[in-house]
Each structure stands twice: as structure tokens, then as C-alpha cells.
Amino acid sequence: MKKAAYSFPEEVLEHVFSFIVSDKDRSSISLVCKSWYEIERWCRRKVFVGNCYAVSPPILIKRFPELRSVTLKGKPHFADFNLVPEGWGGFACPWIRAMAGAYPWLEEIRLKRMVVSDESLEIIAKSFRNFKVLVLSSCEGFTTEGLAAIAANCRNLRELDLRESEVEDLSGRWLSDFPDSYTSLESLNISCLGNEVNLLALERLVSRCPNLKTLRLNRAVPLDRLPNLLRGAPQLAELGTGAYTSEMRPDVFSNLAEAFAGCKQLKTLSGFWDVLPSYLPAVYPICSQLISLNLSYATVQSPDLIKLVSRCEKLQKLWVLDYIEDDGLEVLAASCKDLRELRVFPSDPFGLEPNVALTEQGLVSVSEGCPKLQSVLYFCRQMSNAALNTIARNRPNLTRFRLCIIEPRSPDYLTLQPLDDGFGAIVEHCKDLRRLSLSGLLTDRVFGYIGTYGKKLEMLSVAFAGDSDLGLHHVLSGCDNLRKLEIRDCPFGDKALLANAAKLETMRSLWMSSCSVSFGACKVLGQKMPRLNVEVMDESGPPDSRPESSPVEKLYVYRTVAGPRLDMPGFVWTMDDNSALRIS
């Protein structure tokens, strides 16, 4: 009786909670008191698991019995650059099996960097009656057979997005497995597929799904089929073309231009493999409505890029190859005042010499001209402290800054000094910086700056930098909000790691490869910190066959409530508190 006077009925609380969407806030609610914890967990519908090994399927299911949407991430980020050997882990199957049993009403599964088998896809296809969204981002392990199962069985599918996954493309027939009665598709991304899909089936699918907003084709869809597809879906908001080349025929061009013009809602363009520059003007009619443009596969020269980009006054996001050059970026800065995100990729990453006239100046121009610029990924071959300083002062609103100077340990090309001060200026002025990737010649000093100023920093990527453990210590002790730290080829070792062991429990994960962390230190860390999984990767054999002081190849440390994982391949050893190596 008394209790009721002090608390709302559960239903009211549940209703209130339903307005709280962010995971962080949900987590906070659950900590208020036991009854709030209970109510919250029963009405939680969406969960994000940043590291699939931080928790286990039974633990998740036990706490949240009524989920509709699950997002899981598997391999560490450096797996994108081939630093994680095959077989490392990130298997989706145990999760999918468990969820099939526990969540018959599951609607959404989003996986990133996980290994997904055809069997898993079949389980998804058969287990969830109301399944709506499947996003497989940078995943691998499945074939088009698995896709066929999804197509054939998921009557309510809205979204099928295979972005950047490695799919064994056995046949393009799977697309035909969507039944004729199926019309609920809203988003389809097959850009990663290697082979041709059944084009007729694709056309029919596209034209019978009135809510289709996103269509990202693969390279194998020929350009002359694009107009038909576009006419079948004039409501499209996001389009990824296939190969953007064809025999130069006037009718192909005018057909294409007309089709583009008919897509009044089209705001995002991508694809553009094999661009024939003379076909680019076909998109001019819609340039003024574009907010996002991904030209990172378009191997066209700066003049053509300039003509295109200068027409996109509403552009917020541009991904492009360094063919755009400094000149092109200057035009970008003058034309696209709403730009929020810029990514410039290298056209010739392994080249001996610069093949394009793209330098630090391009980035400086954009930082000057685009007041809303927040997110930068920039590959270049030279950088100076002065430029970084200018960029930092121009754009204190930067939240993501990733700079890759292609040659490791390149100094300031003007002064030959390290780039400590330049990056220091970035972290000092950009107070909301959440993500930072360093490159160039860097000493421990830059880490001092990062530790001092990088208070909001959540993710830091470091390569070929620093002089000593002090560098690592600065970061671990100074960056209060650090969640992910990935380091390769730096002289960081045991001292900083062990001195900051407790910090690691406040982070999602730490990756260190080709550093100076000894096997002995890894063992100590594993023994002292039971809530961390300390995993040593070594492809040359068991680490205990070498002296304790010898450095481990790769170290991956992450917090977990699930204990050491049981699916490790032969080259991964866990340092747990049994102080006996567990080799699976």
C-alpha cells in the first residue's frame, strides 16, 4: 500500500521509458533502483553490443527477454586492414541460434565484422516471422545461397544491406527468389556482389516495391539498364550506380539524363565504378538536390570532378579520390558551404611518388571554406604543423579527424620537425573531438597533448608513433572518455599497460600489434584483471615457447562479463587467472 503511494504504476513507467531511446540513457534508468531495472529490461526493445565477446547470448537473453532489434560487432577495427588473421572469431551463429529460440518476434539484426554462415542466414529466414531488417556490414562467410533463403522466406523484409561484405557469389539467381507477392522492400544494398544479378528480376522487384528508397547496385549492373530501374522507382532517395560506363551512344546518355531528372527525391549518389567522364553530366539535373556523394571509386580527373561538385550546393557529405587535387578541393570549399563530412582516398596508395597534386593545402582550403565541416578522413603525402594548426583554428567544431600521411613517420615537410604540435593544436582547439587517427613523425609529446586536451576523445588510432611507454601512459591516464584504442608498430610496452590496467575496464577494447608488450606482462594483466579478456595472437607458435620478455605479435584486450571465450583459433591464447594457457 505504502509503496504504491511512492511509485507510479508499472504501465506508466513503461510508457515513460518508451520515449527514452539512447542506450546510454536506458542504462542510466536501469541503475536507479531494482524495480526500475526490472521494468526497463522488460520493455527494452533495442540493444547494441559493441563487442560480441563482452557478453554472451544467454546473458543478453536473460536480461532482455523481449528484444526486437539487436546490433552486434565482432572483429576489431584493424581487421579491415588485414591485421586480424582468418579464423580469429566473431562468429554470428551462436548468437543467431540463441536469438532464434528466444526472440520469435525479432525484427532487426545488424552485424558488423562478423562471420556469418549460410546456415545462420537460413535460421534467420525461418525463425523470425516479422523479420524486417538485415544489415551485414563488412561481414563474411556466406554465399548467395544464404541470400536466397532470406529472399524466399522473409515476407516482411524492409531492408537488406550487405555493405562491404565479402560474399561468395555463386549465382545471381537469388534475387529471383523474392516472391512476386513481395512488395515491402525499402532498402537494398548489393554493391559488394561480384557477379551479375538477374537483371530482369531486379527490374521487376524494383518496380513493384513502392516504398523503395535506397538502391545500391553492384558494379556488374550495366549503365544502360539504369534508366529503366530509375523509371521503376522515381521515389528513390539513395542510389548507387553500377559501372558507370558504356559505349558512347547519344541515346544512352539522353535516356540516362532523363531518368535521373525524373528522380526528384534523389539525394544520395554512390557507385560510379569505371566512370566514363562524358557520362557524368547525366547527373547534372539532380546535383542541386544532392546531400551525399560517394565518388571514391570514380577514377576521373580533377576537371571533371570540379564540374560535378561545383553544382552540388547542398552537399553535406563527399567521398572522393585524391584525383580531386588541391584545386578541386578549393572549388569544393567555395561551392559547398553545407559540407559536414569529407573523405579523400588515395588513388595510388603504394606509389613511389605522388601521382596527383593533392597536398595539405586541399584540406586547409576546405577547413577555411566549409564552416560546418565536422568529419575528415584524408590521405595525403605531406603535411605540416602550420597546416594542422590552421585547420584546427579554422574548424574547432571537428568531431572526427583521421589523417593518413602515406609514408610512415613522415615529418613536417617544411621544417622536418615531428607533427606533435600540429596534432596538438587539433586536440586543443577541437574540444568535441571524438575520433582521431594519427600519422606522420610523432614523439611522446603528441600523446601528452592528447592526454591533456583529448577529454572527449572516444577512439584513437596510432601507428608508427611515439618513443616510449610515456606516450601510451599519457593517453590511458588522460583521456577520460576513451573507449577504443588501437595501436600498431609503436614502442609502447609493459610499464604503461600495467600501470593503467584499471583504465582498460572502462574501455571497450585495446589493440596493440607489433609493439613492445612482453608475454610476461600479458600474463600479469590477465591474472590481475579477471574482468578483462587478454588475448595474445601469435602466428609463429605458442608464446610460452619464447622467453617471457619477448614481445607478443598482437594483443587484444577487452572488458567482458562473459569470461574467456571458447571459440579461439590455434593462434590466439587467452591470459586468464588460471595462469595456464588455454589453447582451444
Binding site: E164, D169, G194, R219, D274, G351, N355, L416, D444, S549
Partner: protein
């Protein structure tokens, strides 16, 4: 933090006399890198820490640059323990750092000249071998100082594999302005481009499927190396880069092999240097002692460079580096079959 720095300054005083000794020893790197490895490891990093601490306080130009160079060397010393000839990587690092300004290096770095003297005659050969074979004839005078690209550093630069072939994917479009592509001419790629542009474009779209998703690893064997390796063809978008990578790979393997079988010593070093120049300089243009061939999907052994890169990628099954003299034997109709040229 304060405690740390105080502690470090104290320990720096203790180490001061050792440091003096150390500075004198900043001479021939070859010597000291082979001795006292494990023992000095921690010491070197401390030394470096102290130097940096003092340098930043004094903000003096030349100790600062000395510090960088020695830290460069020290750092790579750590890294190179497990692999490569130390002397060659040292030179690589020195030349890389000094890329833009040779003068700055020579004025502030007495030990460097010692290094050069130590290696003496071998240095010129080393420098030649450092730069990519096919660009040797187009290289500017100081380009021999530049470090060759595409020494297999895994995962660097950090781009996804499906992005790696972008430039080369445009064998059919104009090469970028101001690039050093004139060394393509002996591969006849430009001629083929113009002639076959239309038909190859279509083939290109249909046969060469999508952005290269997986790394495409093919076996590569070299005469004289018992154990083969694998290279990711998809990571290198042109014949030049592939040949450069192969060059590096086998130079390193061969020298490692020689080192293992005969032990250390300065005479052996001389032999290693010779070995380096002998190997695969000019794998494609035929000027070196060795040559690179491949086996295609029909089992035929082929010379590189005849077909456009993409066609090569789709038909190559394995690679082989062999002595040119052996090549002649093969084509004389040995059991392994004939060497074919594509039409």
C-alpha cells in the same frame, strides 16, 4: 605526472655518464645492432626518453634533430630484430627521414657519414637496389635516396582491400597528370589501351567481377628458396608494383637465408650486399639475373607484361622467380612445357 618526470630526470643524471659513452657509440650501427641486443633494449628506450625530455626543455635545434634520427634508428632497431638485414633498413630509414633535405642531415649527423664509410662500396649498390627496378631509368638524381614503396607492410596504408585497385582499375582511362607512367611503355599497355578500349571495357565489366573483395593470394616460388610464399595480387594494381614487391621479398629472403646458413661476420656482409644487387633488379625489363614468370589458368608458363593487368589478375594462378638461364632451359621444351607469349 610530475613524479614521473622528476623520477626520469633523476635517472637521467645517473645515466648521464653512460649516455656520453653511448653517444660515442652512435657510430657504425651494424656493429652494435648485432651485439648486446637484449641487454640494451630497455636502456635504449630510456636513453631516448631522457633525450627527448631535455630536448623539449631546451628547444635547441640540432640536439632535437639528432634525437629524432637516433630515435628513428632505435625504434627500427626494435622492429627489425626479427627480420631483415639491419644495415639496409637503417639506410632506408635515414634516407626516408632525409628525403626532403639532404643538407640538414649531413650537417647535423656525424654518425651518418661513418655509416656510409662503413658500407663503402656497397652503399651505391644498396641505393640502386632500394629504388624500384623499373623506375631506375626515370628516377631523378636523388630518388635513390627515397625508400621504395610497397615493401610489404601489412595493413598500411590503412585502406580496405576493395579500395586498393582503384587507380589501376583505370588502365582504360587516362593516367593521372604528372605521374611517372612513362616506364609503362615497355609493357605496351598504352598501345593496347587505345586499340582494345571498347571491347576490353565490356569484358572488364563482365569478367572482372566487382571491387576485389578478397585478397587474391597466389603462391610464389623462387629458385634457391625452398619454402614458397604467397602474395596478394589484388593489393598491387600494376606490374611495376608487383615486381617491386617480389624484388623486396626475395632480396630479404635470400639474404636471411644466407645469414642463417653462414652466421655473421663482415665478409659475409659483403656477400649479402652483392647478393642484393644480383637479384631481381629489372625483373620485367630483363636486365637482372632473375626473371619473374607466372602460370596461368591453363597451366602454361607465361612471361609477365604482355596482357593488361586485369587480364593478368584473372588468369594468374602462381608466380615463379627463376634465373634467366633456367628460363632458356624451360623454353627449349623441357618436361615442364614451353614458355608462351600471349598474342
Amino acid at each position: 605526472m610530475m613524479d614521473d618526470s622528476r623520477r626520469r630526470r633523476r635517472s637521467s643524471h645517473n645515466k648521464f655518464s653512460e649516455e656520453k659513452e653511448l653517444e660515442l657509440r652512435l657510430g657504425p650501427p651494424g656493429e652494435e645492432e648485432e651485439e648486446d641486443e637484449e641487454k640494451d633494449e630497455d636502456y635504449w628506450s630510456h636513453h631516448n626518453e631522457n633525450k627527448r625530455e631535455r630536448n623539449s626543455d631546451e628547444s635547441d635545434q640540432s640536439p632535437l634533430s639528432l634525437g629524432y634520427f637516433s630515435s628513428q634508428r632505435i625504434y627500427n632497431y626494435h622492429q627489425d630484430q626479427a627480420t631483415k638485414a639491419k644495415a639496409s633498413s637503417f639506410l632506408q630509414n635515414m634516407s626516408m627521414v632525409g628525403k626532403e633535405s639532404k643538407d640538414a642531415i649531413s650537417s647535423s649527423q656525424p654518425c651518418r657519414s661513418e655509416v656510409i664509410e662503413f658500407h663503402n662500396g656497397a652503399v651505391c649498390a644498396e641505393k640502386k637496389a632500394l629504388s624500384s627496378p623499373s623506375s631506375a631509368n626515370t628516377a631523378a638524381p636523388n630518388s635513390s635516396q627515397k625508400r621504395s614503396a610497397a615493401g610489404p607492410v601489412v595493413g598500411w596504408p590503412p585502406i580496405r582491400s576493395f579500395r586498393k585497385n582503384n587507380a589501376s582499375g583505370s588502365t582504360f582511362s587516362k593516367p593521372p597528370l604528372g605521374s611517372h607512367h612513362n616506364h609503362h611503355h615497355h609493357l605496351n599497355l598504352n598501345v593496347e589501351d587505345k586499340a582494345a578500349n571498347n571491347t576490353i571495357n565490356k569484358e572488364h565489366v563482365n569478367n572482372i567481377s566487382g571491387p576485389p573483395n578478397k585478397g587474391m593470394f597466389v603462391k610464389i616460388n623462387m629458385d634457391g628458396i625452398p619454402i614458397g610464399r604467397k602474395v596478394d595480387i589484388n593489393a598491387y594494381g600494376s606490374y611495376d608494383k608487383l615486381s617491386s614487391v617480389v624484388d623486396h621479398l626475395f632480396r630479404d629472403l635470400l639474404s636471411a637465408q644466407r645469414r642463417d646458413s653462414c652466421g655473421g661476420g663482415s665478409i659475409e656482409k659483403q656477400n649479402q650486399e652483392e647478393e642484393k644487387t644480383m637479384i631481381t633488379t629489372g625483373v620485367l625489363d630483363g636486365s637482372g639475373e632473375y626473371t619473374l614468370i607466372y602460370e596461368d589458368n591453363e597451366g602454361d608458363k607465361m612471361l609477365l607484361g604482355d596482357v593488361p593487368w586485369h587480364m593478368f589478375v584473372s588468369t594468374v594462378k602462381r608466380l615463379r622467380v627463376l634465373k634467366k638461364s633456367d628460363l632458356a632451359a624451360l623454353s627449349l621444351g623441357g618436361k615442364q612445357g614451353h614458355i608462351h607469349h600471349s598474342k
